[in-house]
Symmetry: C2
Subunit: 547 residues, 2 copies
């Protein structure tokens, strides 16, 4: 593996740890906990892991001794910067407990546990991956650990390798499944502990106890770098409107954070669109209005940030998608036989009148995308919908009408961008490098303390790392019951952008100014070696939430 | 203007200068020069600026005294990282000569000179823009300075402001025009000097005397950062083929440099396609062959870099585009009246049989793009053609055929990216910050030495900045005669990728290995504060050319 100069120099970085994880520690237990909702139902489903206390690690002078154990680790779902540091922290943590501990990585996600594909992660291998982006050390995958057959299959290999604890690094669904697995292994008295780690660039796995998921910081900084570069170009050439779609699944955390970092002219927040019951036309009118107002000032350029999940949050589109999802789930085989040039009219003929009208009013490409392949959850693949082109096309049409009405004088030339894969595997920022390493090291300490059904938790993350608070949060505490594929399931509540939260309010208070004037900020690329003011800042979201 | 933390920290960077520009200097003149071709014709067109010697500045102990003069500066054409540092260097250079010198910037490109739109650039303003990306200090534009009327209009404002020298920062065409202007102002005895500076991210303005154009270094590093991130994602998820188109107009320098930095599985070089007379199908077969070979090894993922100018270099496509250009230039008005759904058949009916066959075989979207708006030079806007989607669609079809023939077993899921605006206005790398500042400072010294018709030149750029060679190259030296819009014109020869040059040969020697195995390199983001091995490296192209 040929290393870049930066990778070589960055390998030597020693991530910072919270004080409690720097030496011997003691576990402080809080009071018994409850799930955020549906307490009775969750308690019944998790009799062995429900109600456990929040844990906080504190430094202590007494040196504990730990047995040598074997630990397994799994990367689950989409990549996020810092995954390798979670594994490095876990490795260093178990080695600090007992030098004879061993770490096994299951390959290509949860599927590796079921299919018994694994490798031992030795010091040589770990050292190659410290402070690097990607999940390529063992790969990741989207297989869901859900069935008893899978759990039993996993148990075979865990027993065979003498693994006493399994760490699952994943998003909300993966951590839910980790908890189901913890409950099952505890109920069966297997002696195998299961610990989760909060991963996702989307930022939608957070709550009162989990301040942020790892990778969000780095991914947003990479997107903000390129958005800033585009804005500087936009403000130099003064001739294009750039429509920039950003990854992030349903939630708009990434778009909001990037807006806070770069101050674009427009940023759409899906959660607000839904709360206000806006239609696609409302959004188009809003954008066209700002384009026209800027044109009146002689500024025929600007930037628009669009969260990838937007379409699903427009109530009318949501109803359409829901009917499409139901129709295709039930009639997928029939639909598969329809010739391509008849697909749109075929679907329109099967929808309710209201939805058929919306469906056929969409540009053909978008209508087609809405009926394409579904993701493994059975949902429309929102990231395939070119919302950035849909919006700019509709805005262009609206401006043409306004021009006829004498309400717009200007030139509208759009450019389109979609950023997603550019940020998921970037080398972690100092924040993510430290946070991830701490999460992994902390997971080792949870294992050493004999815990299961916990999520590794590092809090107080806007303070210097030394003051971060390490510990564990019972996963059941974050759960409620939700309908998934027609069944009520225990799941970790997904965190959407809160319209009464400080980050959104800060944005909303400034957006009129940003729309009218040109207030672009150019964050530039992530720096690893410079002054702390440049290298060690958390996200604006985190700073505002902690004010 | 709210500054990002990095921008604030980076403002203090003091760009490095060649030894000769650090104090008093003396001018060493070489022998008389000749144009690279068509000497008689060029000499006739440039009687006053032809044949001048190459200049080299050397340090000297004697302090010269310079009169206070006013200088004008113009940014011409597309943005490139470092433009602000050229202006800062020019400002510092004229102030070092005489503190009473003044600098005027003409607004939004050469148009500002003609329309008499300008601003004085004072120390306060300059300081706001040091080491930043973008051309927003005075804006840029694509108006071409070509006619005597324009020259005379410019002369009015130059005389009005008492400007004795004009620095034009631009690409090959802008520098050609700068020389025509220099010749005209000299012939008219206006006493106004004109100096050019080599700018373009495309890297196609270089020759024996101009080692590289500014901005190429930074832009390629930004693209390589995101390509590296995508490759790390690709190698973690192991399920997508990423088709990545890169800006760069006709030449493939950017794609080649990014390939050298990131080692993708495939990189197409337009100049090679042309030299080998390859068809679109040849390229598709080449890519499909590599996809199939990797699939046979179980690797259903990979990366393909595509230069934006590719289509024009495929001889059959070139003929088609040439006929399209001619047809639309002559029949644009008629074509404008054809309804959209009849456009393709209309054009096909007007083309030669051979070209009509190719035109109608293209996916509809591509055929449509080929007949869209032209750029100001009257040519197909290659950057609008979604070559990355065209190729992946055709590769997908080819693989489906190969599957039927039993020659391919695998899954082909493409993703598409186009990078251009992301890199043109990035904050300059140390290399570009130093190089640009030196080019600007050096331009001031050429002015101080009374020169006109010269391009600012900094050579020996792979050595530490202290050892760089400063001086001037007569623009006529780089010229030859070429047919443009049906007329023979004196122009600076555009530098395409040389197939016998070290960068291409280095790439060609390794590409089979990169195609079969996964040899990705992850350069990461540009660093401004770290070790010199990370922060101060020139491009691979430059290093290989200087071996």
């Amino acid at each position: 593996m040929k290393k870049s100069a930066l990778q070589a120099a960055r390998a030597a970085y020693q991530p910072k740890l919270p004080k409690a994880l720097k030496g011997s520690l003691t576990v402080k237990e809080g009071a018994a906990t409850q799930s955020v909702a549906d307490q009775e139902a969750i308690k019944e489903l998790f009799p062995n892991t429900y109600g456990m206390p929040v844990l906080t690690f504190e430094p202590c002078s007494e040196k504990a001794s730990y047995p040598a154990i074997n630990v397994g680790v799994i990367l689950s779902g989409g990549q996020a910067p810092g995954g390798h540091n979670v594994i490095a922290g876990l490795f260093d943590g178990i080695k600090a407990m007992n030098a004879d501990c061993k770490l096994y990585g299951f390959l290509l996600g949860p599927g590796g546990l079921i299919d018994h594909k694994y490798m031992e992660l030795t010091a040589d291998i770990i050292d190659e991956y410290r402070n690097t982006g990607g999940f390529d050390i063992i790969g990741s995958g989207r297989t869901k650990l859900e069935t008893v057959e899978q759990f039993d299959k996993g148990l075979q290999i865990l027993n065979q390798l003498g693994i006493k604890a399994l760490v699952i690094i994943g998003g909300d669904d993966s951590n839910t499944n980790a908890c189901v697995l913890a409950e099952y292994y505890k109920q069966k008295n297997t002696g195998i502990q299961v610990i989760g780690c909060p991963k996702t660039i989307d930022g939608d796995l957070k709550n009162e106890m989990i301040e942020t998921s790892f990778g969000f910081d780095t991914a947003c900084k990479v997107y903000s770098e390129v958005i800033g570069n585009i804005q500087r170009d936009c403000n130099s050439a003064k001739k294009y409107w750039h429509f920039i779609k950003l990854m992030g699944r349903s939630a708009s955390h990434i778009a909001l954070e990037c807006a806070l970092q770069t101050q674009p002219n427009i940023c759409i927040i899906s959660e607000e669109v839904e709360a206000k019951g806006q239609t696609l036309n409302d959004i188009v009118d809003y954008i066209a209005g700002i384009v026209a107002a800027r044109a009146a000032d002689g500024n025929n350029f600007g930037t628009v940030l669009i969260p990838e999940g937007l379409i699903e949050f427009i109530p009318a589109m949501k109803k359409l998608i829901a009917e499409l999802n139901d129709f295709l789930a039930a009639n997928g085989d029939e639909f598969a036989k329809v010739p391509q040039n008849e697909q749109i009219s075929f679907i329109a003929s099967k929808l309710s009148k209201e939805n058929a009208a919306i469906y056929t009013s969409l540009p053909e490409g978008v209508a087609r995308q809405l009926s394409l392949d579904r993701d493994p959850h059975g949902n429309v693949q929102v990231s395939l919908i070119e919302t950035e082109k849909l919006l700019s096309e509709m805005v262009g049409r609206r401006l043409a009408e306004m021009k006829k009405e004498g309400k717009y004088v200007g030139k509208f030339s759009p450019q389109h961008h979609f950023f997603g894969y550019e940020g998921r595997c970037a080398a972690p920022s100092n924040f993510d490098a430290d946070y991830c390493y701490s999460l992994g090291y902390n997971a080792a300490m949870l294992i050493g303390s004999g815990k299961t059904g916990y999520m590794s938790s590092i809090r107080n993350t806007t303070a210097p790392a030394d003051e971060w608070v390490a510990g564990g949060i019972p996963v059941t505490m974050m759960m409620n019951m939700e309908r998934r594929h027609g069944e009520m399931k225990p799941v970790i509540q997904k965190a959407l952008v809160k319209l009464d939260g400080a980050p959104f309010k800060h944005f909303a208070a400034q957006r009129e100014e940003w729309a009218k004037n040109t207030c672009y900020v150019y964050p530039g690329p992530i720096q690893y070696f410079g002054p702390s003011s440049v290298c060690d800042q958390p996200t604006e979201t985190l700073k505002l939430e902690h004010l």
